[in-house]
């Protein structure tokens, strides 16, 4: 079959649907891995995943709408997710979020015009003892201060800069 995914991911999906007693069990991880590669769950991605799992596209969409990590619109290349839940709030999580808004020049759930960053206020990410914390894509950044989050954001800018190795 023609596929939207890289050969490695397509092979992973082929294996994944055979791993469980029912094919559909592979749906949530497939959507997440597809999103990681493509950037978001486009109509074409949804169609292909539905076909691979053997369910309807509307079933797939119903599942997507339930999970907060899954998105049907592009996010920035680096999705900055700042936790403001209780443990982070007590140690300045809201201030970190405000600081990110200023640094990036975008509101909560915004994307920078160059598509490099998006910003999201998120619920507890499991970094309570190292609060305040944020995740950029899947990377944790902990014990944050306004200064240290600036450095974190700069490090991603540097990664994306032309001539950078990454």
């Amino acid at each position: 079959m023609t596929t939207l995914f890289s050969p490695a991911l397509a092979a992973r999906f082929d294996k994944l649907v055979g791993l469980y007693p029912v094919k559909r069990s592979a749906l949530v991880p497939m959507l997440l891995y597809a999103q990681d590669e493509i950037g978001y769950l486009s109509d074409a991605v949804i169609a292909e995943v539905a076909q691979r799992v053997g369910i309807s596209e509307s079933d797939v969409r119903s599942v997507i709408s339930y999970y907060s990590l899954l998105r049907t619109h592009p996010a920035g290349k680096y999705n900055v997710q700042v936790c403001t839940n209780i443990s982070c709030m007590l140690r300045g999580g809201n201030e970190i979020l405000e600081h990110c808004k200023k640094n990036l020049g975008i509101p909560n759930k915004g994307v920078t015009p160059d598509g490099l960053f998006s910003l999201e206020e998120v619920e507890c990410i499991g970094a309570c003892s190292w609060a305040p914390a944020a995740q950029v894509n899947y990377d944790f950044h902990e014990n944050l201060t306004p200064d240290s989050i600036d450095k974190v954001l700069d490090s991603y800018r540097a990664q994306a800069a032309p001539g950078s190795k990454k």
Binding site: Y67, L69, S87, L90, E98, W130
Partner: protein, 437 residues
Amino acid sequence: MATLTTHPDCVPLISYRFGKGATNIDKYIQLQGYESARKALTMTPDAIIAEMKASNLRGRGGAGFPTGLKWSFVPKQSAKPKYVLVNGDESEPGTCKDRLIFEHDPHAVIEGVIIAALSVQARMGFIYLRGEYRYLLTIMEKAVADAYARGFLGRNIFGSGIDLDVVTQTGAGAYEVGEESALMESLEGKRGIPRIRPPFPAVVGLYGGPTIINNAETIATVPHIFRIGAAAYAKLGTERNGGTRLFCLSGHVNRPGVYELPMGYNLKKMIYEVGGGIPNGKKLKAVVPGGSSTPVLTADEIDIGMDFDQVGKAGSMLGSGGVVVLDETACMVEFALRTMKFYRHESCGWCIPCREGTDWLEKSLIRLHKGGAVDKDIDNIRYLAENMLGRTFCPLGDAAAMPTIAFVKKFRKEFEDHLDGKACPYHHAAALQPALV
């Protein structure tokens, strides 16, 4: 990336291999790894369950149900396949302990699955991590692959003639999926909507088969029980509360961190000695003892042992082991609001008391915090919460209602201070405004 914090009172049992490179299977084996599984292979299922019962291990996810008893509910004969399911969807605000286990000792989780599977004759196990823990999935997947390569998983494990497959996967962001029946729905590729119980998962669980579902810390503790013996394990804790657990200290303490302490450890000591007390000479105001769902304790209520029974007697719950400390500068209304904002966001919307209740509670708390509320609103908040209790499909409704009732009951004066057009007297409104309102 996440590391254990230690204190002289800590007892390294679950954390015995943390920081020792035990993600490497050879290192794990060198540190008594897979000895417990080998031991369990020589035992009958009944003997394994008897050992678990004798350990007095109680579920570390929050409910504190005796693990051995839970396993004993799985019927011996079943037309449908049986499963073992590890709940690593750690999402309770204030809780960050399972992360350490997956990061430092992934084989302990696998070995726990093997022992659990042997106890009920299951042939398949699942390890489900929260979606945000992607780096841990990589670690777990490698550990599982290594265990397969050694013949500890797959066909004829340890040459015993028994087959056991283990699948690892992550969720995709949903607190509700930490609820056991919702987790099974998610694992079946659906929205994480809870199922009505009974029947309980031990009888009708994943794919309709009898299922053991345990928190990741519970499962990772199992091999340690077999390593040191159930009696020795039980003795580490208090009566009916065996062993140790990973406590996550967060909030206003000098040394926040994840510490492994014996069950029954004094909460006051945990905050002042282990955690180094409150920063900047501030006074303690309140403690949430077991994750955001557990009723708050006032500063006068913390001279208690941290086990399920003693915290229960004090009117709260030991919960997930997430101890959140609030100093005198914290606004309880703001804290209640942030807690409710979370539950409103995470309510799956399946049943009305939870869907509507969390929404109205959040609205009322926003109004109160902004200074637009009237006296009656405080009673309404409590009334709404009390009427959610026990009336929802799954415990998420209770998890939202219980702390709210305690906030109003124990800190009513602070709620009243927000009345008559007065904005938050703790001056947090400015910081809160963009994020919450």
